[in-house]
């Protein structure tokens, strides 16, 4: 070994903070330190070299806590190369932009993959395993809270309510067993014509929705869509995947601002609920067809709902809807209507 690889550095003995100016070289497989009254020789196997961390000095340390502080990065690199030293894999990854960018792409890919496939799949699996009792409690609490703040008792005649529920109960399921459900009616000036499904199979229909149409078949169509939500456990899945998205976004952006975290979380959750709406439409359409009814019934009901919730020119309403596809939880209604009409 030639002196070309002797590097000047500062030596600390690990017991005091006194610096010693020394030279470090490698001779016959030993690290050798000389200068300022210090004279040490150690086999390379007992010497550790810290990772390169930018401009920070690198540390060549010995088992007893003594070490050399090296600022001559090029000199140390040459010395290390001459001894056949190889930096740990992670250190090499961090040192190159190409690897960093690959890691960046990898992270983004993994996040996208988790969001699009892994999380919905996991939520579906988990929803299957949530005990009936938990869903019961959750649903009863939700309904009780809504009864208190949003709903009044239904003003529809009891016979009319029973007749609708009975007719719907007679529909034969397109696949598998009948989906257990219960239909309840409520008057709600606050939310208007609407229907939704709770995790335990309770389907809530507002009087306003029943009053929207003269055709009972159209009401059945809406119920069929809601039963799709029940059958595929959508409420639970949305709670599960939505809260995971919320947590991750809050973790990522949380130390910046909780407000900054709320908006992207809401956008990401909206995409999930659009997926679920499509699934429920598909189930509803199958249930209707299987019982000799047309999926177009659901389509015309959607049009009516669209008209009461977005009054004005039907053309502009449809346009506004499609523009807000990425913002709204229901897929552009025009598109859903088309899909239902075409599904024959």
């Amino acid at each position: 070994m030639t002196d070309a690889h002797a590097i000047a550095c500062r030596y600390f003995d690990g017991r005091t903070t006194t610096p010693h100016a020394v030279t470090l070289r490698v001779e016959n497989g030993d690290a050798r330190i000389e200068g300022d009254g210090i004279e040490r020789r150690l086999p390379l196997a007992e010497v550790r070299v810290s990772e390169r961390m930018g401009a920070a000095p690198r540390l060549v340390s010995f088992a007893d806590g003594a070490y050399c502080e090296v600022r001559d990065h090029a000199g140390l690199d040459a010395l290390l190369a001459a001894t056949g030293f190889r930096a740990p894999m992670v250190a090499r990854l961090q040192s190159r932009w190409s690897f960093a960018l690959a890691a960046l792409a990898g992270c983004m890919g993994l996040v996208a993959l988790s969001y699009l496939y892994v999380l919905p799949w996991a939520a579906e699996q988990a929803a299957e395993h949530i005990p009936r009792s938990a869903m019961e409690t959750l649903s009863q609490q939700t309904l009780a809270a809504m009864d208190e703040h949003l709903f009044k008792p239904s003003a529809l005649a009891a016979e009319r309510r029973e007749a609708l529920a009975k007719r719907f109960g007679l529909l034969a399921p397109p696949d598998g067993d009948k989906v257990p459900h219960a239909i309840v009616f409520r008057l709600s000036p606050a939310i208007g014509a609407n229907a939704f499904a709770l995790p335990n199979g309770t389907i809530v229909v507002t009087d306003e929705l029943v009053d929207l149409t003269d055709s009972d078949d159209e009401i059945l169509a809406v119920l069929a869509h809601e039963l799709g939500h029940v059958q595929r456990r959508h409420a639970l899945r949305q709670i599960l995947q939505g809260s995971v998205v919320g947590l991750v976004v809050a973790w990522y952006l949380g130390d910046i601002s909780s407000l900054a975290a709320a908006i992207p979380a809401a956008l990401l959750q909206a995409r999930y609920s659009r997926e679920l709406e499509r699934e429920a439409d598909a189930y509803g359409a199958r249930l209707l067809r299987f019982n000799g009814l047309s999926p177009a019934l659901l389509a015309s009901m959607l049009e009516k709902l669209e008209r009461v919730h977005h009054p004005g020119d039907p053309g502009t309403a449809a346009k506004a809807q499609s523009r807000s596809d990425y913002l709204s939880s229901h897929p552009a209604t025009a598109e859903r209507i088309r899909a239902l009409r075409e599904s024959r």
Partner: protein
């Protein structure tokens, strides 16, 4: 004679403050950060403990005093253990919540009972694994003191509706800084409780006083009956509302600046003392611009933001030497054994706060 008195005579041997120097860069840390993130992802979070060691080493080694960097020696396994404990506690609490509120309450009390011990352990872990020029820092606070500052004072602070908060914070800092040593040299903390109350009062005056004054003035003007005064009152009221938001944004940087300056300017290490000269405007600028840049880059600016703040904080700190920095001495290993530090290896925990 008079000339002698007037001529500026510098005191003999004014010690020259030695500033901390930060040599890290955003683009370097970005690469460490993104590789850490990717590896953490593909190992389902397990790598995060190793990632933390790399991150701390990057910041420690790039922070230099008198030509020598600091170093971090923590073992990832200890950090992983700490994270598993923290995760276990949270999971146990979530489970207890589903069982019954009473069970959750009991578990919460249990967590409160062990938390101070865990915090003292992780404080000791962090310091024992920090070094400068090969000498380790040390924490020798008693566990009892830990229970006082991590449990009793916070409870007292809540019960007193925050009136005792400055006192609680003072107790915490006195416990931390008064029980730390570098080698055989002890740190000491000399800020008084009164200093802390003064800081709180100034903050309260600024962050509560200004909006309250604006709202009161607005009410007076609106109540005066004159139309022009009423209009002025409404404008003042709106200004008061805006002031609340702006001040909320400014509260954290303000508190960080003032408390760091107060704490470090009253901390000594043997014959040496520290100077911390953070400026509020500068901290505010860094915090606000970091916030907007991080949002605009969907988080990719974060490593750069962290480096900016670390650089400013390091470079606002200086050590005023009372003697040469070359003569600190480490503890003899026999002394260390006598303190039982070897035994606590098993309890090495870092629960990252």
């Amino acid at each position: 004679m008079i000339n002698d008195l007037l001529s500026p005579v510098p005191p003999p041997e004014t010690p020259v403050p030695i500033p901390l120097v930060f040599t890290g860069s955003g683009s370097e840390y970005f690469r460490i950060w993104i590789v850490n993130l990717a590896l953490t992802f593909i190992t389902f979070g397990i790598y995060s403990a190793w990632a933390k060691v790399r991150r701390l080493q990057y910041f420690y080694r790039n922070t230099q005093l008198d030509g020598s960097g600091f170093d971090y020696h923590g073992k990832p396994i200890a950090i992983l253990k700490g994270r598993l404990i923290a995760f276990g506690l949270v999971a146990a609490y979530q489970f207890a919540l589903t069982v019954s509120p009473t069970a959750a309450l009991i578990l919460l009390a249990l967590i409160a009972a062990v938390m101070p011990w865990l915090l003292v352990r992780s404080l000791a872990f962090r310091l024992r694994n920090s070094s400068w020029r090969g000498l380790r820092f040390r924490f020798n606070g008693a566990t009892g003191g830990g229970y006082r500052v991590f449990l009793l004072w916070p409870i007292a602070s809540v019960l007193s509706v925050g009136l005792l908060a400055p006192r609680a914070y003072h107790a915490l800092k006195a416990y931390q800084h008064g029980n730390t040593a570098f080698g055989t040299a002890p740190f000491a903390f000399s800020a008084s409780v009164r200093d802390f109350y003064r800081l709180w009062l100034r903050a309260a005056g600024l962050f509560l006083g200004v909006p309250i004054a604006l709202f009161l003035a607005a009410r007076l003007l609106i109540g005066s009956g004159s139309a022009i005064a009423g209009l002025g009152g409404i404008v003042l009221g709106i200004l008061g509302g805006l002031a609340v938001y702006l001040l909320l944004l400014m509260a954290m940087p303000y508190f960080l600046t003032r408390s760091q300056n107060l704490i470090w300017n009253h901390t000594t290490l043997g014959a040496h003392r520290f100077e911390c000269s953070l400026r509020f405007k500068k901290v505010l600028w860094i915090v606000v611009s970091n916030f907007f840049l991080t949002v605009l880059t969907i988080g990719l600016f974060r490593p750069f933001a962290v480096v900016r703040m670390a650089r400013y904080r390091a470079e606002s700190m200086a050590l005023v030497p009372g003697e040469s920095l070359d003569h600190f001495v480490g503890m003899q290993s026999r002394e260390v054994e006598a303190m039982g530090e070897e035994v606590t290896e098993f309890f090495d925990i870092d629960i990252a706060l």
